[in-house]
Amino acid sequence: MAIDTNKCVGCADCVVACQTENNVPHGFSRDWIVENVAGTYPNLNMNFRSERCNHCDNAPCVRCCPTGASHIAEGGIVLVTHDDCIGCSACIESCPYDARYVHPDGYVDKCTFCIQRIDKGQNPACVDVCPTHCLHFGDLDNPNSEVSLALKNRKWYVLAPEAGTKPQLYFLT
């Protein structure tokens, strides 16, 4: 997924759309907004980032999961099988992005890229709702996908590359 920080307005529509799509309980969320401000008045810079699980290629949350509930599914999506999850929270400790939370029903939950939608060829709910069209979702292995092209033509960064997790959310600048 690529996120265009030049266009995001921090409206959190992506957060609400995720909650209604995925029935996320009140008080929790799978995605969230970060506002960055730098400089002093009137020489300022600001952007917003819509963040969520990075679906890391080298996911510490998967490595440390004692039951195998956290796993990497087809297409590189990191998922938690609710029934196998014992709620030990080891994965929460290991995630450098704080992308996971304990669902009130005892299992650990996080962004699934709306797997139920992708399976049907739809975009994740956040991507389809974003009023600024700043979220792009697609296949990074396909060099001609919208995301691959965006990464080819634009500058981008990932979060906490030093953690070595090989995150798969790319922030376009």
């Binding site: 266009k7 529509d13 609400v16 009140h26 401000v37 704080d98 049907k120 009023p131």
Partner: protein, 754 residues
């Protein structure tokens, strides 16, 4: 483990990312549907989608309400064929189901009672009893004082049917805060120039523009859906955005130029821009010659309004003024100097809007692609009814003859004045119906509002939520939310004419009823059945749709229908086509003969406005993308995103006062009015050192709003000074100044919150 599970992580200025404010809410197993449930997502095919258009704000985006097999509303998704939403609702529209699910909703009709000890309370009543009581009061008032003593405050779609009722009853006093507290000066200023207003949604062709100029208009924080989407498209297309705002708004952060202007000096900048464009001969000569009136006078008027002159007033460097003027001219006619929406600032707002209108004319953007397009709406015939009775008097009679003559809509403040008994005016207004607008958060000068309310014989409030205004009602009629009702068709103007249908996705919860039903029931009790000859609204909609070659059945299927334009082209002045404007001269009036006739300045001029006294800061207010005024503050989904407003303070000011981030303070204004609840400090470089800022709509004082009660401060409460626009009666609200109280004042209600 770090507790960072919160939605909006706000950073402190200058220091990259730092998360502030922790999410402490832990609701055991409650899902968004307000019930214990761990169900997996339901796929779209397993749900029924019914068409609606959103009522969380005035943009009225069309969408689909998805209902699962158990009849529960699961989500709201935009309708792809709708130009307001283009298939994408904004966060408030997406979270609109929080309005339906809100357990704090008004549930039954309520009637004010008093016990023997003089203690007043609300008693639950049946619809019959409540409607009979309202009708008895209205019948009595009509008989004893005349129907013109009744006023209606109406906001939103349902307000239209209430207006129909009140017109049939015989009163012309139908008002809404959207005029005198919002876009009125813009409509009057553009009308004086072009003989037409800007309308809603605004006729701005942002999608195709090459240069967008925003003057205090914080698109992105105000979530006017279509505009945000188009602004994003314009960014993709490489358009230049110029934002003029003393605050570093979201829009400013997306702009090539941010002009950090000194508050209250915008007209000086606009005049200097005109000066550059005229003196450097950058204006559209053919356009100006063919269409405009008074160019020579304008040239003389701005002769000495040099960028150097404006620099001393606005603090914007002359070079920046010149560069931005050239950018606009370079993009012309695909340039928009945006008229804004909430423009009641300093009392010279019609003149500022005029300056914006004139600048657009010099650039030749009105009627041009990428400028201001020529909108069209579907002309829907109304269901046949007898003519409305002719009112014998109106709110205007409470004022000297000719006052507010250019107010093209009824003034809320004028209604308040006409309600307060006055020896000069023997028949003050005595009954109000307030429909869907929380006057305590929308009208400045609360003292006057309350004085008017206390002068009333009776006050009826129709709403979905127990907002502050309901606390003053004699009778409260609970309406169901937009997701549970039919309403009139949406026929707003756009690039092409469209109709949109709203139909219920679920049965009204509790004992709530749709607005159309309430209006019809009252009409019956007032002997006005002839005005509501349909049995239910479906019959009325069906009739209207048939006139347009459609049907209810078709609209239920498609939600939104596009019609062909019947009048001029979308870009009707693109190639200098002939055009007669609806002004005195038939031209675009750079020089306003209408204003001159009424004794006002035919050209906008800069006037110096008062500045904050020592130790005080200008109170600036605005919007957050996840809330619509006070209407949404109790919506659980949106409350999750933003629970309270904070007062933005520049770090220098924070140092001076030794304020800490997150510290609670009370605000006191220039008239000694102190905020009822404390508000937390947000220290940020995004605000100037002479101003503070807060998001409007918070600090609600009704305990029934269990989530919103006492969260943050109510800016409206602190706006006691009104800078009235003499041209059209707009209530300028940006001339109020506040200081900080670090200790709880005597009127503090913080303890009540616990």
């Amino acid at each position: 483990m770090k507790t960072r599970r919160q939605f909006i992580k706000i950073s402190t200025a200058g220091a990259g990312v730092a998360a502030l404010g922790l999410h402490s809410l832990k609701v055991k197993g409650l899902n968004l549907l307000g019930e214990e449930n761990t169900e997996e997502p339901v796929s779209d095919e397993d749900m029924t989608a019914t068409p609606t258009y959103c009522e969380v704000c005035f943009w009225k985006c069309a969408g689909w309400t998805y209902v699962d097999k158990k009849g529960r509303i699961r989500k709201i998704i935009g309708n792809k064929n709708d130009p307001h939403s283009n298939g994408r609702m904004c966060p408030r529209g997406t979270g609109g189901l929080g309005m339906y699910n809100d357990e704090n909703r008004l549930k039954t009709p309520l009637i004010r009672e008093e016990d023997d000890k003089g203690h007043q309370y609300f008693r639950k009543a049946s619809w019959d009893e409540a409607l009979n009581l309202v009708a008895a009061n209205m019948n009595k008032l009509r008989k004893e004082h005349g129907p013109e003593c009744m006023a209606l405050f109406a906001h939103g779609t349902g307000g239209k049917i209430m207006s129909h009722l009140i017109k049939a009853y015989g009163s012309p006093n139908i008002t809404a805060p959207s005029f005198a507290q919002c876009r009125g000066p813009r409509e009057v200023g553009f009308f004086a120039t072009y003989g037409e207003g800007v309308l809603s949604p605004e006729r701005t062709d942002i999608r195709d523009t090459r240069c967008l100029v925003l003057i205090g208009s914080h698109i992105g924080e105000n979530m006017h859906n279509g505009q945000i989407q188009e602004m994003s498209e314009a960014i993709d297309n490489g358009a230049t955005i110029i934002t003029v705002d003393p605050r570093y708004s979201t829009a400013a952060s997306h702009s090539r130029y941010w002009l950090a202007i000194k508050p209250a000096t915008d007209i000086a900048l606009l005049l200097a821009w005109m000066h550059v464009i005229i003196e450097e001969e950058l204006y559209d000569k053919a356009y100006v010659e063919k269409y405009t009136y008074g160019f020579g006078e304008l040239k003389a008027h701005v002769k000495d309004k040099t960028p150097e002159w404006a620099y001393g007033i606005t603090t914007i460097e002359p070079d920046v003024i010149r560069r931005t003027a050239r950018e606009m001219a370079g993009a012309a006619p695909s340039v928009i100097v945006h008229p804004g929406r909430h423009v009641v600032w300093y009392g010279d707002d019609t003149q500022r809007s005029r300056a914006i209108a004139i600048l657009n004319a010099l650039l030749g953007s009105w009627g041009r692609r990428g400028g201001l397009y020529n909108p069209e709406k579907v002309h829907l015939p109304s269901y046949p009814h007898p003519p409305y009775p002719k009112p014998k008097r109106s709110w205007r009679d409470a004022f000297p003859k000719g006052k507010y003559k250019l107010a093209s809509e009824v003034l809320t403040s004028g209604i308040c004045d006409a309600t307060i008994p006055n020896p000069e005016w023997d028949c003050h207004l005595r009954g109000w119906i307030v429909y869907g607008t929380n006057l305590m958060a929308s009208l400045p000068d609360q003292k006057k509002t309350l004085q008017a309310i206390h002068s009333l014989d009776f006050l009826v409030v129709i709403d979905t939520m127990p907002m502050d205004i309901t606390g003053y009602a004699d009778v409260i009629l609970p309406e169901c939310t937009y997701l549970e009702r039919y309403d009139i068709l949406r026929d707003s103007p756009h690039r092409e004419p469209y109709l949109a249908l709203r139909m219920p996705a679920a049965k009204p919860k509790y004992e709530t009823k749709p607005g159309w039903w309430i209006a019809k029931q009252l009409a019956h009790r007032l002997g006005l059945d002839d005005y509501f000859k349909w049995d239910n609204i479906e019959e009325m909609l069906e009739w209207q749709l048939k006139q347009k070659g459609s049907s209810l059945e078709e609209m239920k299927r498609i939600g939104v229908k596009k019609f062909h334009r019947e009048y001029d082209d979308l870009y009707n002045l693109q190639n200098l086509e002939d055009c007669e404007f609806n002004t005195n001269t038939g031209k675009i009036e750079l020089y306003s003969t209408e204003l001159e006739e009424e004794g006002f300045d035919p050209f906008p001029d800069y006037t110096h406005h008062p500045e904050p006294p020592e130790g005080y800061y200008r109170l600036n207010y605005g919007r957050a993308p996840m809330h619509t005024f006070s209407r949404t503050v109790d919506n659980h989904n949106l409350w999750d995103l933003m629970k309270e407003n904070k007062v933005w303070v520049n770090p220098k000011v924070a140092d001076l006062w030794n304020l800490k981030n997150g510290q609670e303070v009370w605000l006191k204004n220039q008239d000694g009015i102190i905020s009822i609840f404390p508000i937390k400090v947000r220290i940020t470089e995004r605000i100037r050192w002479d101003s503070v800022y807060m998001v409007h709509g918070f600090g609600q004082d009704n305990k029934k709003l269990t989530r919103a009660y006492g969260r943050g401060a109510n800016d409206t409460h602190l706006i006691s000074k009104v800078m009235e626009d003499p041209i059209m009666g707009g209530t300028g609200m940006r001339g109020n100044f506040v200081t900080f109280l670090k200790e709880a004042p005597a009127n503090n209600r913080k303890e009540d919150k616990a």
